[in-house]
Subunit: 350 residues, 2 copies
DNA sequence: TAGAGCCTGGACAACGTTGTCACGTACGAG
DNA sequence: CTCGTACGTGACAACGTTGTCCAGGCTCTA
């Protein structure tokens, strides 16, 4: 005898009060066939009003809820998409995630999301777990730089869009901000206000956005004919303590910087703290906008990118893929916007 | 002939390159039985090294990925939990969600989350969708005040914990902040600094947290023997425009308030903006901490609650339920902390 | 009133996986 | 040499749903 009733009870010992009712149970209670219940649950035609009522009553009485796992198994689509990002607690990703969710909702899909914590292994683990759950599509903010592990998934038809940073070693849709252009603009803005000794504090250059912003900084400096001293750039620095130390170093010594370009919102916030305690006024432009930037003294000038718009665009491309509307992977780049609030317009305090 | 191969092709026309390999395909390629593949995939014992290697090669070659829908159907557990909150873009919920995710991850579970947008219908829709997907457990920040629709789920053994606000009309675990006590402390702090005309701006009292904070405000005022004028409290106000108007009203007239207690972080931020443009100094204490509160002029005194700790506590209770460790629903209340930074210590400018 | 056509409802297979059981082979003990 | 045992392996049913097909009853028309 395969899998006796007793055994089945054992297997479900974890449940508090036994098993959930199935369509079969509903059918028995309503005195109809299994398929009729299915029809009622799915609003399919071909059921008389009276039968439908009886089925509805049985559903109500038993507290029946369709098992979507079985449904997915049968239908092949899960009506859910996955979002892998770096850290949901980061104020940059909250709105992005929410925007993706809204688009998903409009398409009747749920969103499963996971934080990679900037760890490539964890990213892969998450992505593959999502694929095992057969999400219809993936929105990925990559932590790693090699995504060949996704090839079988892409072949199998999992729609995929990368956001904020491009995919590594595979050809896939990607939605980016104009990190290079934005950084150029921000640094050029400082130069236009008379600064020549400008510091840059950013993340590890292996992260695409960080590398692009650094390139923007270097290009703007080169375009203005300003040689960049080694001591002016500080890379791979994100935790507040090290950012603080890096900023303090740039601000001391024989050739102190008169302005700082901060590579992302977390860096900016820490630099603001350092500058607040600093004697001389130092100009500051940050990449990424943040709440209350306008209320600080002085207001913080930033290169703003629209996180929600990034998410929305990516999600919309995802569903276009699922509708079969897109064939060739594309790279979409969204513009950034320089918002002047005071800190970037301070003159050099030489 | 039921469901011909041709039909099957039709059904999958949406996929880009056809179907995914199954264990059967892997078995055929490796020249072993289906169950042997299952054993390898799940790391079960009873497979020789040589067989295992052949299976692994076939898996690699075909890009096989286990279909968790089928697995769930068979095993009854999904290793995923659902989180329903108000708005992921709100800086209060980001860290909370992340904390829940971390606990889930430690238990090998994925997190599916959805935003209710403070709409009870949408909350129910989300919760039921999650139940249909057979999540093992639910963490809910309720928008509605009647959760009897969850009764069948609870009976069926879906672990459930409510956070931030209690469940309505059902008996369930709940993890809260001490909203009443925190508000009391905050208002008492203002009173201790000499204020008597203190305004309160908060959310709709149908939201539990808002009601509790209002109660705290009233209690603190009553304890100090201060009668509260109607014009000092403004409820159901969250969007910046109306908060602004409410604040401006309190600050004008014959009996203007000399201090404001703000009912949540969004209100606080808007009030800060209003006060920045105001001629007279006005004291402010806000409920909820927020980034950069210390850098404003003056720093903003707040009643801080630990969102991450709320999420962590709730998630841990959830997994305790799943382990069968908990039987009786409980109410856990986490303390709040008054953080003085200047704005709450301003004397009344009478 | 008989036949055609429609409408309703049910039987059955299939989705991809895992639990159970049984078979066969190799090996050690008696 | 034979029996028992242990182990590796595979056949098969079952999870709960949906798609297909067929049967039976009804209505409508000639």
């Amino acid at each position: 005898m395969p899998e006796t009733a007793a055994r089945r009870g054992d297997r479900l010992a974890g449940s508090r009060y036994g098993n959930r009712p199935t369509m079969k149970d509903v059918a028995a209670r309503a005195g109809v066939g299994l398929k009729t219940v299915s029809r009622v649950v799915n609003g399919e035609p071909g059921v008389t009003a009276d039968t439908e009522r009886r089925v509805q009553e049985a559903i109500e009485a038993l507290g029946f809820r369709r098992n979507d796992s079985a449904r997915v198994l049968r239908k092949g689509r899960t009506a859910s998409i996955g979002l892998v990002l770096e850290d949901l607690a980061d104020p940059f990703y909250g709105p992005l995630s929410r925007a993706v969710e809204e688009v998903a909702r409009a398409h009747g899909a749920l969103l499963i999301n996971g934080s990679s914590a900037e760890d490539p292994d964890r990213e892969q683990e998450l992505v593959l777990a999502l694929c095992a759950r057969r999400v219809d599509g993936l929105v990925v903010i990559p932590a790693g730089d090699d995504h060949r592990y996704l090839e079988p998934e892409l072949r199998a038809g999992v729609a995929t869009v990368f956001v904020d940073r491009p995919a590594g070693r595979i050809d896939a849709d990607v939605v980016l901000s104009d990190n290079f252009g934005g950084a150029c603009d921000g640094v050029a803005h400082l130069i236009a206000h008379g600064h020549r000794r400008i510091g840059f504090i950013g993340d590890m250059p292996r992260i695409h956005t960080a590398a692009e912003r650094l390139r923007g900084y270097r290009t703007a400096m080169a375009d203005a004919g300003i040689p960049v001293a080694d001591s002016w750039t500080s890379l791979g620095v994100t935790d507040p303590l090290r950012v603080r130390r890096a900023a303090e170093e740039m601000l001391s010594g024989t050739e102190p910087v008169t302005a700082i370009f901060a590579g992302n919102n977390r860096v900016t916030v820490t630099v603001v703290r350092v500058l607040a305690a600093h004697s001389r006024p130092v100009a500051l432009v940050g990449f990424d906008d943040f709440e209350l930037a306008d209320l600080l003294q002085p207001g913080v000038t930033v290169v703003a990118q629209d996180a929600a718009q990034l998410g929305r665009t990516a999600a919309e491309r995802l569903f276009s893929q699922l509708d079969g509307a897109l064939v060739t992977p594309e790279r979409v780049e969204l513009p950034t916007r320089l918002i002047t609030r005071g800190s970037g317009e301070l003159p050099p305090a030489d």
